[in-house]
Symmetry: C2
């Protein structure tokens, strides 16, 4: 694909998307003796006496790790710890440019959940947050929850939460347009990976009572003997009617379909026609969605979103992770709890003013730099309110 | 101390000496799609097919870790993994400003050698080198040698080698001035820590046959029952006469004394007077040396060096580590072998031209930015010659 070739060319030209820049200069021996030995013993001793001073005297307060074992990279699968590096570096570029956070790429050549947990725990001291990235399920779930128990800094698996927060924000805005309540609708989710499972949980938390998740074998229901623990668990909050069969069965009369299947062109016009009135179609597989917006609209979809920047309504986790971490770091949160995640949903959805909302504008653009600070502001406030912030004062964020 | 207070003030003002800077900008959706998804899948796929391309397409080629468990920080001892951070960041500042290397501070809250080795191995994929820092002995020795066996990137414990290389370079130049041969002299080393042990090994490798190492109990000799394995091992190349007693006994008639004791003012004028003709005194404990240059000179020392920038002849490992890693990274060396270390000694000592050599100028200034590239040049060449370089061509270094 052309965009792959162009990206390779860009990466070859710059030879590494990141570099570490000093915030001090060394012009003479005095500078050297303050930045390094012997003067540096001063800050070292102070931190040894009062560990909290590490936040004033080092880069820790504004540094997180973006960490992966390369086991589930984009739609490319288990391509390993070297091949995931361009993703980790790309994410670090976004963290810095959008939220002024130092995000260090850490790539792991251990693959067992225990080893991953131990390694991340061992290197945690210089970081104030952990962004887990591109780790396959089910281990991504275990790693996130075990790490969060062990560490007193936020642990956030972006492939689950970043995506789900962006989807839910876009969904809430779509419902405003079509005049439906989340408690009344049926949502069909295509794909039971980390993102699909997570979107189901978030939609449930937001009040949806009728969610059907489908995997490659069709609807996930109690009668299936081939379900892994995560799929079994998700049945506690989905498919209460006990629907069976292919995903087409779920689509009959559905209000919303959310494609996270990684299967290009999975949805045909006939599928959209099975849905209820004013169908909402999120076809989020990249780079080729489950159905193109043109086809979906032609088949009757009222609102269509994709993961792509060349169509309206791009749903992308890049809208979420910079602001979430900015807010969490600013109040030294020990975790990013569900309340903070839901605050991010609200901040993101409300950043499109009601009078600007339209079928082609249900979610703001990545290029709107206000979004980060709107999200950060709500996340920081909620962290303080829910008692997981070490600082009680939220910074003053400025945005339009 | 004043310099501690000044350093604390500097650290408070800048709030972290480091930040991660993108080398690309994101101005629009196209930029975003090349730096991150979906375009970034291009470089990812290419690396998955040809792992060596990771060096062209990511920051790995120019990134190392500066890693410590905080168990032996400066002269402050085991102050822990938070308190060591200002040192690691200071070192990273020097790596970048002097050698354009990205050095990521990694601080460990595991303390057992096995855990440290496993952790560093697990996070190695995104790095091209490991600078071990401020780790107490004896584990520093085990960790370095075991890690170098496991990893195909250089592992370098700077407290051993950086110091020893700078000391040996200064010593060779001192001998030129006083007209003695290294094979004829007696060297007394005060301190049997990582640096002291390492200086003894380097002096032996350079041809010295009469080395006496002393610890807090006096001369290290065969008759002592309190020696740890490292001290026992160093006896194979030191104290062949079987000298016993306090360090004063060793100083009688000695040509060179090298203070690495961490004990301020350990050496009295009377000690210097015990030495042979034209005594060479390296009093390297920081910030207060074993003896001040003025006192040492008054007691008869011909040449005096310290670790301090406010006296002539500052011996500092900062002269060494930037150039060593620059050279190793430039040819993608898999290790920094003894030949490369000795090439660094030669490059450093010869960077003071013979006609400029004097009692007050045995080693160049840290502020001479040529040093890095002189060392890098010799280290890279030697890596190629000794077969540990993955690239066969050394870059063209420019220096005066």
């Amino acid at each position: 694909m052309k965009i792959y070739r162009e990206s390779i060319r860009l990466h070859k030209n710059i030879k590494g998307k990141l570099e570490l820049k000093p915030r001090v200069d060394i012009k003479n021996n005095l500078d050297l003796s303050l930045v390094y030995t012997p003067g540096v013993a001063g800050p070292c001793k102070l931190i040894a006496e009062k560990p909290d001073r590490v936040y004033d005297l080092t880069s820790k307060a504004n540094t997180i790790m973006v960490v992966s074992d390369g086991s589930r990279v984009l739609g490319l699968g288990n391509i390993g710890e070297l091949a995931v590096l361009p993703v980790l570096e790309g994410k670090a570029v976004i963290f810095k440019l959008f939220a002024d956070i130092n995000a260090i790429p850490i790539s792991l050549n251990v693959k067992e959940p225990d080893e991953i947990i131990n390694t991340i725990t061992a290197i945690a001291p210089s970081f104030s947050g952990v962004n887990l990235e591109d780790i396959e399920k089910p281990k991504c779930f275990i790693i996130e929850s075990e790490l969060q128990k062990k560490l007193d800094i936020p642990v956030f698996h972006d492939d689950q939460h970043g995506t789900a927060i962006a989807v839910l924000a876009a969904l809430l805005n779509s419902l405003k347009i079509i005049g439906k309540k989340i408690s009344d609708i049926r949502i069909v989710i295509l794909g039971a990976g980390a993102a699909g499972i997570s979107v189901a949980k978030y939609a449930y938390t937001a009040g949806c009572k009728n969610i059907i998740v489908c995997d490659s074998k069709g609807i996930i229901h109690q009668g299936r003997s081939d379900l892994d623990p995560q799929k079994k668990e998700i049945l506690r909050i989905t498919n209460r009617e006990g629907l069976e069969g292919g995903f087409e069965n779920a689509l009959k009369g559905a209000d919303v379909v959310i494609g996270l299947s990684t299967i290009p062109n999975l949805l045909k016009p006939a599928h959209i026609k099975l849905m209820g009135k004013t169908p909402v179609v999120f076809a989020l597989t990249n780079p080729i969605p489950e159905i193109t917006p043109i086809k979906a609209k032609k088949a009757g979809a009222k609102i269509v979103a994709t993961g792509r920047s060349d169509f309206p309504n791009q749903i992308n986790n890049s809208l979420v992770f910079p602001g979430i971490f900015r807010g969490a770091l600013d109040v030294r949160a020990s975790q990013i709890n569900m309340e903070m995640k839901m605050a991010a949903v609200k901040a993101l959805s409300s950043s499109v003013p009601e009078n600007a909302l339209s079928e082609e504008f249900i979610i703001p653009s990545m290029m709107d730099k206000n979004i980060v600070f709107r999200i950060a502001c709500e996340v920081a406030k909620t962290a303080v309110q829910t008692g997981v912030a070490r600082l009680r004062k939220t910074p003053k964020y400025s945005f339009d």
